[in-house]
Symmetry: C2
Subunit: 388 residues, 2 copies
């Protein structure tokens, strides 16, 4: 049997930070990958520009009112243009698709990820909220699918690399590193006065606005703890968060014999994206992004401040209680972060809204997909009602 | 077929630092390991004590004039006592032996290691000089043997762990960490005045005298570079030495995609011994030696000073030229270190003697075993002649 020369890649959320960097990798390895499908929520102009450059077979713009704009702009090219989230979920199941990169923001990634799993597609998972919201459901679906889930997050890519060739039963602890975000050294009493502009100044990583705010509250690290729990089947009480301001050690694994393995690299998302796209088993050769001793000459580690960053505690609570609680937490967080970005609430109100919504929306121990959809809607409404 | 309950372990050099710690592991896992053979060079009292406690089937005291003392002291126990290095080389080939731990000091480890390889025994290699002196020959012998060579050195155990599950062709660099030894912060002009007592104060590791002096000159790190070259088939120009004073990161591997993996742990030799004895594929569970964030809160890395530690350059020269040059270097170093420990020479004369011996003893490009034996003798005589 001949090996297919190039893998067809569906990039869901190609106009976001991860999506753009995934397209960089497509350009870097043109003999390995073909960007077959590009999708965007509302960034029509960039989607058009990407499509003209990369010539995918399909593009989808989720917002239906932008459909004609995109279609007309690409009418001289052999590219099929669709719109709506339904089209995305259908296209990822195509026989033509080899790997789906899920790089959408937030809850919106869930439906198409489930479609991809049901169609036995390999998934490079950048949309961590999928596992945060519905880890239990996704884990169940994966048992009956030939899909492999490859993490794109730098931390989970690090866990994956440290676990290669190891027996899962030998793992005693995952040590999840966190930069600490822009407010690591900000006194707790000043946090209420921090603006969106302050919060968007991330010290190490160049990321989208949503995840940068989640980094400032450390909600992002709570999400990653939940993501790790589901990806690697390790309980939350064996996942330790450690603040590492240099973002060079991307995470570590402790084994039963006291040995710890770590994965290091420059804080650049091209690295974990490249690793995820090479899986299973193939590292993609590059001369860029090599680390020198000057990059890692001084590495520090400290305990996180749960009092200052109470969303960390919220995440552990959601992990311990399970059910739809993480879905509630995520929905309230999405609403609160959007409100903070629009200067509608103070920084510390993000946690207040999340905590009140987690307490106010009914708990469901074993939610179905429909329960997640209903919970997400209900939690969003509840959170919105808390914002004046 | 029934799995044998316990593996019979031959500990060559049981009275040295590694040998004693290997016996600790035997005591920790009595259902896994049986210390079948203990050997010592001249430490008869400790050998007797160990034999009375661990009840091996055989003990060998290498120095023949101590034979009667050991035999008489153990005459009430069912332990066979032999003497002489010939007896060691014969006993390691016994059908009863499963794994040979080579923990002797220096060149003396070569003969019995070769015997163990020819008898298809698995080897936990703590005697790095074996590979330093005769890496080319050992590598050739391993091709025709069922032996596996498992490193006991913490650095090489780290490489091994980082390489598990990875493709060898993906490796671009081994990053060998060094504590820097007791003279890392000593000005170069003060080195000639350093005494054996100064050099024996190693900041992190509790080791024997020979290796502690080798650590002070960084000859030990040069040896480890050569050991890594032969163990992992990586050329010297892809092995980088990095000074890491905390001795927490035991070494690192860089891959072709820019990713680096590291292995961390407390600076305690029980850890790499336990790992080596568990190979292949089994990590031995322990509650001791767990690292906490306080152990790794600040990790620093710096370039080594080749001017201050010229034996590093000597080791790279030996690696580049191959043949019997590393054997010459090792023999001269053994003689010079012994002379330094007896206050016969100054600290910086260790390098002078090694350099002059490397220049003075004839080079052989493809030495046989007999050539190594002759080279070792010749280099020792040459080095001795340089000492007044």
């Amino acid at each position: 049997m001949l090996m297919k020369e190039r893998r067809n890649i569906a990039i869901l959320g190609s106009t976001g930070s991860i999506g753009r960097q995934t397209l960089d990798i497509m350009t870097e390895y043109p003999t390995l990958f073909n960007p077959w499908l590009l999708t965007a929520n509302s960034s029509a102009d960039l989607l058009i520009e990407q499509a003209r450059k990369h010539l995918p077979a399909y593009v989808v713009i989720a917002k239906e009112n932008l459909y004609e704009k995109v279609r007309d702009a690409l009418s001289d090219l052999p590219i099929c243009v669709h719109s709506g989230s339904e089209a995305i979920s259908q296209l990822v199941t195509s026989n033509e698709v080899d790997t789906v990169v899920t790089a959408m923001v937030g809850y919106s990634g869930l439906e198409s990820t489930i479609a991809a799993i049901n169609a036995n597609k390999d998934i490079a998972l950048a949309n961590k909220e999928t596992l945060v919201v519905a880890g239990q459901l996704i884990t169940e679906l994966l048992k009956h699918s030939h899909s492999a889930l490859y993490p794109v997050d730098s931390e989970h890519g690090a866990f994956y690399q440290c676990l290669v060739g190891e027996r899962r039963e030998d793992v005693t602890k995952l040590i999840l590193t966190a930069s600490g975000g822009p407010f690591r050294n900000t006194p707790i009493e000043q946090l209420p006065y921090m603006t969106a502009a302050d919060a968007l100044k991330h010290p190490n990583w160049d990321m989208g606005a949503k995840i940068t705010i989640d980094s400032a509250t450390m909600m992002n690290k709570g999400f990653e703890m939940l993501e790790a729990k589901w990806l690697f089947g390790i309980d939350h009480d064996r996942i330790e968060i450690v603040v590492h301001p240099q973002s060079i050690v991307h995470s570590m694994v402790e084994f039963c014999d006291g040995s710890v393995k770590a994965q290091l690299g420059l804080p650049d998302m091209h690295l974990p994206i490249r690793y995820a796209l090479g899986l299973p088993g193939k590292r993609l050769v590059t001369d860029s992004h090599k680390m020198t001793i000057d990059d890692y000459c001084n590495l520090t580690f400290e305990r996180p401040d749960f009092e200052k960053f109470p969303l960390l505690t919220a995440a552990y609570t959601a992990a311990r209680q399970g059910g739809n609680l993480a879905c509630i937490m995520n929905a309230a967080n999405e609403v609160a972060v959007a409100a903070f970005l629009h200067d509608r609430i103070h920084f510390t109100q993000i946690h207040d809204i999340v905590a009140k919504t987690m307490a106010g929306v009914p708990f469901i121990a074993s939610p179905s997909y429909d329960d997640y959809v209903a919970t997400n809607n209900e939690a969003r409404s509840y959170a919105e009602s808390l914002i004046q």
